[in-house]
Symmetry: C2
Subunit: 372 residues, 2 copies
């Protein structure tokens, strides 16, 4: 393999870390993990990813002199539960993970969030390494230190801020990712362009096929996304402000996930985000904030990449405008009845818009639903 791309995340208090991006990183992961110190490095993964990459990662860790082990959970969002969290913690303890040892999250965002939360709370905190294997995890969830699980009362309501000590994004692992998961992750890639980097969105329009096919554009795109996210996280780690911009498209997206019962057969997160991005731009245009032309460009590009961009595209439907509003009101971005949206003045020009009137949203959604 060629040298990996590197993004440094300069957090304070000795918590800075590197994100390495390249094809084939898993084969050499052991030496990089061993360099962090510790005697054991125990892997948490899901059964699908473990069967593909678990042995290679374990072998690499053990070759580097680390005692290793594997805790595998069922694939899918349902594993971000209290019960699986307890099983992962007990599994790590059974593998005798001590305070100086490492937890290695090998998998998509589900495994990263779950293993990260277990690491945050095992013995009141052990260090962890992210080895993200889905596009979404490589460009988003593995960076920034948000970890957690779901409660029956809502997604990601339980968790901790716990930064990884290292992120190894082996982009060759995406070769085995399903087309659908690849597209879903791509919605988050495009999101970074839409938030604050119009030039990157242009580049995506020209080069997106290389990301899917595994050309050098893939590594480049992952690095650009990680750099963008790392910058936001360093400036606003706890989401008191700017970090909320990363939720562009997510207020609508989360509502759609909720209304489809988090059934991935109907809608996965990135598909909800794709629809949400298109809606955020059309809503911005309707409010006179953003050129209608930009809203059109966003929807066209996402559709070209095979992503849904309308409420009608939700399999089984998503209810009426009030059901959508209700589902949005349960989101954390709601304060005292008024909705906070991330809106845009154009591609690459997003901003936090608090106090958006419920009536304006309802009218917009009604038109979107009627436009079938």
């Amino acid at each position: 393999m060629t040298d990996p791309l590197t993004v440094h995340v300069p957090l304070d208090q000795g918590r800075d870390y590197d994100i390495l991006i390249g094809r084939g990183l898993i084969a050499g992961a052991g030496a990089r993990v061993a360099a962090l110190g510790g005697k054991a490095a125990v892997i948490v993964s899901d059964e699908t990813v473990a069967s593909l990459y678990g042995d290679a990662l374990r072998a690499s860790l053990e070759d580097a002199g680390l005692r290793s082990g594997l805790v595998a959970v069922a694939p899918g969002e349902a594993s971000k539960s209290y019960a699986t969290y307890a099983a992962v913690c007990d599994g790590l303890l059974a593998h005798k993970v001590e305070r100086g040892d490492l937890v290695v999250a090998l998998g998509g965002g589900v495994v990263g969030d779950l293993a990260g939360f277990a690491a945050a709370t095992l013995r009141r905190g052990v260090r962890f390494v992210q080895v993200p294997t889905s596009l979404l995890a490589q460009v988003d969830s593995s960076v920034g230190g948000k970890t957690g699980i779901n409660s029956p009362l809502g997604k990601n309501l339980i968790g901790a801020f716990h930064q990884p000590r290292l992120v190894l994004a082996d982009t060759a692992t995406l070769d085995t990712l399903s087309e659908r998961e690849m597209r879903a992750g791509y919605a988050e890639v495009a999101k970074y362009g839409l938030i604050a980097d119009a030039g990157f969105f242009d580049w995506c329009e020209a080069h997106w096929r290389g990301i899917f096919s595994g050309g050098p554009e893939r590594d480049e795109a992952v690095a650009i996304c990680c750099r963008a996210k790392a910058g936001v996280v360093v400036r606003d780690e706890r989401e008191d402000g700017e970090r909320a911009l990363l939720n562009l498209g997510h207020t609508f997206g989360h509502a759609l996930e909720r209304l489809t019962g988090y059934e991935s057969a109907r809608l996965v997160h990135g598909e909800g985000v794709a629809i949400g991005l298109a809606l955020a731009f059309r809503f911005s245009a309707r409010l006179g904030l953003c050129p209608g032309q930009d809203a059109g460009r966003v929807a066209n590009h996402l559709a070209l990449a095979g992503l849904p961009t309308t409420l009608q595209a939700v399999p089984g439907g998503c209810g009426d405008a009030d059901a959508l509003l209700d589902a949005m009101a349960q989101d954390k971005k709601v304060k005292d009845g008024a909705l906070t949206f991330i809106l845009a003045r154009g591609i690459g020009q997003s901003f936090i818009a608090p106090g958006i009137e419920t009536n304006a949203v309802r009218a917009f959604l009604q038109d979107e639903l009627g436009a079938a």
Copy 2:
């Protein structure tokens, strides 16, 4: 009530807080909690303590304009479980605790550890207030930010460092505490004298009855203990060094708790600590580190207060020397086979002693067991 005693805990990064100590603090708790900001303050308690003080605390919070609520768990160590943790988190969410709101732990160390961990992880961290109602919680567990639950694989293995924003130690609540729990907490009080404050141990010998009966000595003792613990915590929050001194008597004590199956009918934590303190001093004397006279004084005083001080005093027995060694080896204070003890050069002169030989410990324990 008279003005409460105050101990300030000067932690960095805006995490400093006050410990207030006095009779009747619950009645005025609402105003002090409301001063921290937030709209809701939801209480976590156990059923015993909730029935005694829950209504008064709720009324005080609501009088101060806070929306309140109560999540009650079964009393006892068994509530420091994954399942009860999940139930507490979901209970707090059902009471609509938002990021700016407060969790109030009303109870002994079990409730404080459990509610603190729920607060540390609810929405990735909400603020919490400790209202400790057992002597142990007032002098030890409510101060210092260690929160957590037990795993089937061991005590306190899951948790987080999460400092309270305020501690309200209403010493009048101890009037309803059982004699046995009072004595158990008193072992931790005496511990502070033994660790580093010979003058306080002298004072305890003279004034311990006032602590039990609820005289002004009680508030004074709680304040002295909190000041001592706060000092250690500020200097070594994450237990990289000095904080380990607080474990004086606990290596033996934890082993005894383990060997009695954590059955409080047989042994509660403070009783294990009392035996452990006596053993730590006798072991120090045997190693020629500490005058035998000091070891005798320690055991005599604890016995006078009604606490056990020998292995023979463990109801149902505690196994032989090897069983004890095994149980100690499972403790976190074991590194690479060698045992780390907290030993003493005399009353008020404890120190961390790493690398104590297993054989020396075994011989000591055999003599202790044979000395029936």
